[in-house]
């Protein structure tokens, strides 16, 4: 059915020579941006200092210091060189890897420019990026579970919000772990509703998702205004403490960044690995994906399409509920109205950006988390960049990916279509 979209030009234009030229221009534009925006506004003798010890860490790692301007020029030159080669000859199948390299160089140039004349805690930035990636990635994993089975889920935001609130209330009353469990169950409950609507009643899945989003915002704000505002003891769950992985957490630089986090971070890594393995290396995953790609064929082979979709959507809801609990039990320690602030939708974007793959989504989550973190940091540092534009970056990047400029993503073929068993 997705072939019915009124695409006027063949997709070849975006994958063939057109794409090669577009990417070349993108590389050159980034090189020009480094030179025009960063290098030209930097004085010759300014020094960039990157601190490599995160706050509170004992280890003493030397700072990374260099004179800003020559480094910026070198990076701009390399980017321009890559762009020129891409424009003339093309990197072929390695284009995406080169794009990643150019993007990384651009980010490094940007950070060097921000830290010129002052110092920036690089380790702290990396750690914060990982932390910010947690809810985004969990949201994306929720989306992957649902959409790989053919059910579009734009209700991640609503499920997360409800999960956050329920986790805060139960966490305050019965302790953190009960709160976490309650948040997961709340997500599952909404997922059941979404599943019944979109699988049993064959409601349009976007409408169903919208219902859940409106309901979640309304209900959580209602309960918050009615009960939480007056009873602070209902909204004070505290947060999960950081877990130091013995041995690994003491490694300088890497240890505090990677191995000292709370339960949400490590669970996310676990879910990531599990979902990747489950989806691509088990019978369970093969069945789930077949239901999302070609439900009729799956049905013919004796796979219960409805049951599989119910299972996938409910698991997805639990994942979103878990991600929601992060906001209250893993980060802030209380529930605020509409506190997810679009993170569920960024998760949806990360899912698309990551091409419906768990690790791809994690990569996108890191990228978006980085933008998120940087926007918060820059506002504190008072840097001359409007943080709002950084916050826009995930959305713009997703639209570019969706437009097929940087390689088209491949959605599951039966995504969003209700399955109708024949002969009933």
């Amino acid at each position: 059915m997705s072939t019915l979209s009124p695409t006027m030009k063949s997709s070849a234009e975006y994958t063939g020579g057109g794409r090669r030229r577009v990417m070349g221009v993108v590389f050159l534009a980034l090189a020009a941006a480094i030179w025009l925006l960063f290098a030209r506004t930097t004085q010759g003798e300014m020094v960039t200092t990157f601190t490599l010890n995160p706050g509170g860490s004992q280890a003493n790692f030397p700072n990374l210091e260099f004179i800003t301007l020559p480094v910026l020029h070198a990076i701009a030159f390399v980017c321009a060189l890559l762009g020129g080669y891409q424009l003339v000859r093309g990197f072929g199948t390695r284009t995406n890897a080169i794009l990643g390299l150019v993007a990384a160089l651009f980010i490094f140039a940007f950070l060097s420019w921000v830290a010129s004349g002052t110092s920036l805690n690089l380790a702290g930035l990396l750690r914060a990026t990982l932390i910010r990636a947690v809810p985004i990635t969990l949201g994306a994993l929720s989306g992957i579970l649902c959409e790989r089975a053919g059910v579009v889920n734009i209700a991640i935001e609503g499920m997360m919000l409800t999960g956050a609130m329920v986790a805060a209330i139960f966490g305050s009353l019965y302790g953190l772990w009960v709160g976490l469990l309650a948040g997961v169950l709340a997500g599952a409950l909404l997922a059941v509703v979404h599943a019944i609507f979109s699988i049993k009643y064959k409601t349009d899945q976007i409408v169903s998702g919208t219902v859940i989003n409106i309901f979640s915002i309304g209900m959580s704000s209602f309960i918050s205004a009615k009960y939480l505002a007056a009873n602070r003891q209902l909204n004070n769950p505290g947060i999960f403490p950081d877990i130091q992985i013995p041995g690994l957490a003491e490694i300088p630089f890497i240890g505090p960044i990677l191995f000292s986090h709370n339960v949400f971070f490590f669970s996310m890594l676990l879910f990531l690995a599990l979902l990747h393995f489950g989806l691509f290396f088990t019978r369970w995953g093969l069945r789930l994906r077949s239901v999302g790609e070609h439900p009729k064929a799956a049905d013919t082979l004796g796979i219960n399409v409805f049951k599989t979709r119910y299972m996938a959507v409910i698991l997805g809801g639990m994942m979103a509920g878990f991600g929601g609990a992060y906001f209250t039990l893993g980060s802030v320690g209380r529930f605020d109205d509409v506190m997810t602030a679009g993170r569920g939708f960024i998760g949806l974007a990360a899912m698309i950006f990551g091409n419906w793959n768990p690790f791809g989504a994690f990569g996108a989550g890191l990228l978006f988390g980085f933008a998120d973190m940087l926007a918060a940091r820059l506002a504190i540092l008072g840097v001359r960049v409007a943080s709002e534009f950084l916050l826009m970056a995930p959305y713009i990047a997703t639209m570019i990916v969706l437009a097929g400029v940087v390689g088209r993503g491949q959605a599951p073929a039966a995504d969003g279509q209700p399955y109708e068993k024949e002969g009933h």
Binding site: M1, F197, I217, F222, K226, A386, E388, M392, L402, A403
Partner: protein, 416 residues
Amino acid sequence: MANQDSQSTPPKDKSAFGIFMHELARGSLIVPILAIITGLLLGGLIVAVTTDQVYTAWSRSPLEAIGVGINAALRSYSALFNGAIGNPERIADALASGEAAALRRAFNPFFESLIKSVPYIFAGLAVALGFRAGLFNIGAEGQLFMGAVASVYVGFAVKGLPAIIHLPLALGAGALGGAIWGFIPGWLKAKTGGHEVINTIMMNYIAFRLSEYLLRGPLQRPDTTNPISPFIETTAQLPRFFESPIRFHLGFFIALAAAYGVYWLLFKTRLGFELRTVGANPNAARYAGMNILVITVLAMSLSGALAGMAGANEVLGVNYTLAPAFSSGYGFDSIALALIGRSHPVGVVLAALLFGTLRNGALQMQIAANVPVDIISVMQALILAFIAAPAIIRTIYRLRAPQQQEDGLHVRGWGG
């Protein structure tokens, strides 16, 4: 997408209302009405369940608890009615006294409901127009923001024009701002197949961040650190018909005119026919030689322009300035509205009046009965749920299954 027009016999009465009644009469009139009633009943149930006195009464006897609960719900709804339409006693007193100020105060709630309906009418029309063309415009909220930004800028930055020029200019800027925000996903859809649902969601958040930036930078009021724009010139204000406190303004009639315009476009013009054909069956449209690219882009742009007008009306008619939280989710509620109104302008206007009335009355309900306004969102979600899955309503009320395929709504798949 619903294919209301493709296979049924044409209506005899060709007026806007005639077509609307014809579409409703095909077995679907009863469902929206029952959905609204059920939503209101469930809202009352939530009010009752969240009333503390119910539980103290429960310890004495369950029957008493039910009575207390029903009382609480009734009290809330009467507060809602008073807040939305007006307090009957006060209206009677005001009529008896005949004093102008008292009359204005007594009738103010009714007019406030109409004002609250204006952005709903525009945004609902925006989503409905998209539905008719087979496009799911989930980005009305963002388009509304961009419309508001554009019109507030023209409203305060352009000085010295007479109102007859300035006001249309500001309104046009609002429509243009929204149209641009609708054009981009429309163009992406037509040109690359990028799904408009994802793109409009992304455009929403880009619009939020952009307006935050503008309100902290170029559009900020000079004498404050708050993110708020300067007041617009009086020449850009939509004229009000009564003295304070009644804020009823020209926008309401512009909204009705827009509804008629959308009806005329959809059902009386060639473009509207092509638009509905593309929505009902893009393959047929392609074989008939229609330019799907142009129609898709045009439909999204028009949809965005309507949503932009919703934002412009809030700025030029009610607030006279722009602050970040000026929209209480009009864009998202409008999806519900368009579905309840069966994507027909008449239906949208009626549903918008209902939503505007509920929203307005809810404020009074919060003050008088201590029920948070957010209950309205919950009720809207419930109503939308019942409309979207008519089978639920049919099961609850044991209605017969429809003769023909039910007018559901289906969006074509992702990706492309």
